[in-house]
Symmetry: C2
Subunit: 214 residues, 2 copies
């Protein structure tokens, strides 16, 4: 494996170390979480000295911020994909967006956690990362506005309504990931066929939505 890498790259220089570090970090985080992520381990996996990453990411925080940024970019795309039919079926598309949200979080639980954790001391040092986060929120916000102008959602402050929905969704994801919902759920005898998390979620989302409908 090391031989293969030796052959495929020109020799001394890795060629694309920066990207390789990012990819390897994503894999690591997916498997073992952010806490245990270490530059040294990543370097070792890539067959490179432990000090090599330093050139591309002067501080560990820089790496984290970059990971968060790319996470939010993917996340935003997932949301956009979810709500793509919003002009045809606004309500259904809105719920589909919620399901996309949940799916992204479930498929990348540790990355999602990182994105919403406060691992970065001073986020304003990483403006592109901050921006990526805001732009994700704006997808939700614009969907809310669309549904409001279509007369489907109440015409209150769209930001507040977006907060409300985001809070619910984020909270649901976190509790689900912590096993707190599952834990309680498993205590009740399952008479009806067991629903998937996504089914339960879209039901709840719908249920909550009733309070917001115009």
């Amino acid at each position: 494996m090391i031989l293969e890498r030796r052959k495929s790259r020109k020799g001394y220089h890795h060629g694309n170390l920066r990207e390789a570090i990012l990819n390897e970090s994503i894999i690591w985080i997916k498997k073992k979480g952010v806490e245990s992520l270490s530059l040294r381990e990543i370097a070792k996996k890539l067959g490179v000295t432990h000090s090599a990453p330093n050139r591309h990411f002067p501080k560990k925080e820089t790496l984290l911020a970059t990971l968060i940024e790319t996470g939010f970019i993917q996340f935003r795309l997932a949301l956009l994909e979810g709500k793509k039919d919003i002009d045809i079926h606004p309500k259904e598309a809105f719920i589909a967006m919620g399901v996309s949200y949940l799916r992204f979080a479930n498929e990348n639980p540790e990355l999602y956690r990182l994105m919403f954790s406060n691992n970065i001391d001073d986020m304003s040092q990483y403006p592109t990362c901050e921006k990526a986060g805001l732009e994700s929120f704006e997808v939700l916000l614009s969907a809310v506005i669309t549904l409001q102008t279509r007369g489907i959602l109440k015409k209150c402050d769209p930001k507040e309504m977006a907060f409300l929905i985001w809070s619910f969704t984020h909270g649901y994801v976190m509790l689900l990931q912590d096993g707190r919902l599952a834990g309680i759920d498993s205590k009740q005898k399952q008479v009806s066929p067991k629903r998937t998390d996504e089914e339960l979620f879209s039901q709840l989302l719908h249920q909550m939505g009733i309070g917001l409908l115009a």
Copy 2:
């Protein structure tokens, strides 16, 4: 200060080291978060060898689990206090409980984070801790049931409804603590007098509640 402690305790033995460690840990977490909590530092603060805590908490995890447990016990009391008038003013008491929830989380942000983070590998090893968490949820659940039997909330599965409300509240707290709500909020020009987080929260809670009312 060290002298004082020397005088107040009998001498060689600390007398109440276990409790002292717990208190000091709470203080530490409040100030600097869980990540940086170290047994050695706590021992140093208490004027005791770094290996002394080991007798009372064989693993660091044991300490964490105990902290989480006491956190949930306090948390539950806060919720109970919030909903104390539920038989007289069910709806108002319910919202008051939500505000109590928010207040607890805001006053103990890092402790709250610890309580809801997955720092414990296998929670079933700490049954009393697990129990304390469930009992907190049950306060919410029983409140939901009360409001359902009083005909104030819809009579769907109370657990699902409790999930819904809990998800919203937990998500709201987390996003608030991460500064994500504030971040977006600060972009809009504040024309109306600035509401406190608690006011906004109880408004949102009410708004969401409309969808759940019978």
